[in-house]
């Protein structure tokens, strides 16, 4: 993949990053197969990431279709080393390269009616063999509340480990919301919609009791079928305790003041 020009280490962790090898071969990207090894095998040859454009629509003053280059170019790329906690109970530390989502969204001038942002992934049967299996209601969709989307920790990533995103990691453009379970960080985005009402999201649609709209990492609220109290950091043998908001409570807990996180999981 092509190297990227970016500002190094804007948000970093003491945690040691996961190996690139692991982060790019152990992926949940069901559009390319449900085995974690599938995406690395099937996505790189199939996913066509250029030309790429994103439709921006809904409650904003400047909707339109924008080419990937024009979407990203006005921004300075930053490296953000974030924890990534999957809802399945494993985690990684990934040096992403991207732009703060909030800054990017402002360019489209969301109106006062924009309370949520919806994201939609590419769903092209010719490129994505996994779409033939009706596991989720394709295309994959995700959503954030406006304040979550505008939070400085939320980024749109175009790279990782200093290079362009590998196809299996959601090239060319994916969301990264480090305090939420990994599935919220939708891959290969083709559509961004500002809306007044809470959008439907793929995993919440599939099993609302198991995957909430918020899906903030929370060791206190178990998945109905497994515990979320601990996680296995890829590359480590022993499980480690999972942190509230994946360790970003100081920065983001305020977003949820007054909410019962057992109900709004």
């Amino acid at each position: 993949a092509a190297p990227l020009d970016y500002a190094r280490g804007v948000v970093t962790l003491d945690d040691k990053p996961t190996s690139f090898e692991a982060a790019s071969t152990y992926n949940n990207y069901y559009e390319f197969g449900t085995d974690k090894a599938d995406p690395a095998r099937t996505a790189p040859g199939r996913l066509k990431t250029r030309p790429w454009s994103v439709v921006v629509e809904g409650e904003c003053a400047r909707p339109g279709t924008i080419a990937f280059e024009d979407l990203v170019k006005p921004h300075r790329l930053e490296e953000r080393v974030y924890r990534m906690r999957c809802v399945e109970g494993w985690s990684m530390v990934i040096p992403w390269v991207g732009v703060p989502l909030g800054e990017l969204l402002k360019r489209f001038e969301p109106t006062s009616k924009a309370k949520f942002v919806e994201f939609v992934s590419l769903a092209d049967r010719d490129q994505m063999p996994g779409l033939r299996v009706p596991i989720l209601n394709w295309p994959y969709t995700e959503g954030l509340r406006m304040d979550e989307a505008m939070h400085p920790l939320t980024i749109l990533a175009v790279g990782m480990y200093g290079q362009e995103l590998p196809a299996q990691n959601g090239a060319p453009l994916r969301l990264v919301v480090p305090w939420k379970y990994g599935f919220k960080s939708i891959k290969s985005i083709v559509r961004i919609r500002f809306s007044e009402t809470r959008p439907a999201t793929a995993w919440n649609d599939y099993a609302p009791r198991e995957y909430g709209f918020y899906s903030n990492v929370n060791p206190e609220v178990d998945h109905p079928r497994w515990s979320q109290a601990t996680e296995r950091r890829i590359g480590e043998f022993r499980r480690r305790p999972t942190l509230p908001f994946n360790g970003y409570a100081e920065q983001v807990a305020g977003l949820y003041a007054g909410m019962d996180l057992r109900v709004e999981y």
Binding site: Y26, Y30, T34, W90, R225, W226, R232
Partner: protein
Amino acid sequence: MARWLKPGVFALSLMPLAWLAWRAFSDDLGVNPVETINRTTGDWALRFLLLALAVTPLRRVTGWAPLARLRRMVGLFAFFYVCLHLASYVGLDLFFDWQALLKDVAKRTYITLGMGCFVLLLPLAVTSTDGMIRRLGGRAWRRLHRLVFPASVLAVAHFWLMVKADIREPLLYAVILSLLLGSRLWRRGRA
């Protein structure tokens, strides 16, 4: 050929473990080795359980009597892989955190079902020797060993409830199990 049947199947039945050990030895267990060991031993436990259930129908269909001699051995291999699976869960995954284990068994349906399967299979393994068959008597022994049927249902359910969304694999096992159990019901109905 019948002479080599048992030693041959014995050696073959050890292959999944040998392969796993080889992968562990050559650092080839993938990104999440604990998960790989847990999944692989679980897969083979389930496969051997179904294989053990397939011996009798297969003998009837083929009329090849020597197959009957395989049943106990294949069944014990199923239990062997169940034990490995349980050991990897308790030892590798939970690292002998007994409190977490108790919580899991009590709270998580698929763990409860898996444990139930183990508990049902335990007396079958214990009573698998010739001496125990004699002591129990053929009738009581056969009745006891019908526990393998609910145990295999629990095993498939355990797998089914574990997967996140893609149920194709547990569904395949469920279909095979239904055929194996169905063939027995069908025979009883005709007898």
